[in-house]
Symmetry: C2
Subunit: 187 residues, 2 copies
DNA sequence: TGCAATCCATAGTGAACGCTACAGAAAGAG
DNA sequence: CTCTTTCTGTAGCGTTCACTATGGATTGCA
């Protein structure tokens, strides 16, 4: 019932897989690249994580959870405008962080459309809240604004991956803010 | 000196390659997929177009030329704001055109960063012209606005590929226009 | 009709892919 | 110690990859 314990740290290996998928993408990442980066032989990898697709699911879910923390943290700001401002500037910073791969795995990987849709939904709800709080004008359509912000962040990710400087990416975020109308001044 | 003429139309075969690369992407497109789509056997493909990378260069250049026609056509509008409006709405329409693959090859394919940079440069020049014409305020930085618009269009491409409806994509374009400031009214 | 040139179809190259069978090594349980 | 269980390393499975050698088919030209 006991058996030999595994000789590697599963969490560390998974973190290495996240970094690799993030930097290279799913299709371009081979099993041999994964075993090298994770410090594990193929049979150990398959025993611990299943096949490549299952491993990617787990890795991308781990990544997604971190994204959601950032989204929730930004959404906790008192006004929707502040929430959006924080989200965009934090996105600009993260996408050009030299300590991680450039851009965003969730916004880049074609097969993660469901994650994007989930973030879009959270963003939509926060914007709806902002409308009912009166810090966004009632004329806006929350889902459309959320989709616009998702599009901008995806564009920021692509700009970062193309070698755009942190200030280039931050400028995109700053200009996007100009698209968000102020509410009519309540007297 | 004469020799047997080729039995396929080179332009038609190249157009099929463009469609396939556009729909599937460079890495995910195999030679066998290309030979099927183009109606050509591998030796004929290699004789007519060189290797896969060379074929992609030719196909993406053909695609790029069509993009540039659209950009130039939009840029010919009398004001920069009109030019941008046309460019965004035409992009929204093209990215969801059911007669072609969804999204944009140039904005999607990682190795086409040079083409994106070229479009960004054209856009920057048109915006500079708009500033000097007085139909954009002198406070804007042309390169930043161009990068913002590129980011939005890339986001529109991703939205379309994720299954966003034409009206979803068009809404992104419409909201982006709100980010462009009016010039101070010249009396 | 024969020659030279060019293209096409079959078939297969070596390499890399995702994945796994197998046997030995390392742990707890008795 | 032995037994059982689980992990590890080697080595290789079948498939697909990009790409090409070879030989026959089809043309223009003499």
């Amino acid at each position: 019932m006991a058996g030999r314990p595994r000789s590697f740290d599963r969490d560390e290996a998974l973190a290495a897989a996240v970094e690799l998928f993030w930097r290279v993408g799913y299709d371009e990442t081979s099993i041999s690249m994964l075993t090298s980066a994770m410090g594990v032989t193929p049979p150990s990898l398959y025993a611990a994580f299943g096949d490549k697709s299952t491993l990617f699911d787990e890795a991308s879910t781990l990544y997604f959870d971190r994204i959601c923390e950032g989204v929730d943290s930004a959404a906790a700001r008192p006004t929707a405008r502040e929430a959006i401002t924080v989200m965009l500037s934090e996105t600009a910073r993260a996408h050009t962080d030299t300590g991680t791969p450039l851009g965003c795995l969730m916004l880049t990987e074609p097969r993660l459309a469901a994650q994007r849709e989930a973030v879009n939904a959270r963003l939509t709800r926060r914007i709806e809240q902002g409308v009912s709080d009166g810090d966004l004008p009632p004329t806006i359509r929350p889902h459309e604004l959320a989709s616009f912000l998702m599009a901008v962040m995806r564009g920021m990710s692509g700009c970062a991956r193309d070698g755009g400087s942190p200030s280039d990416v931050a400028a995109i975020a700053r200009l996007a803010l100009a698209a968000i109308p102020d509410p009519p001044a309540a007297t």
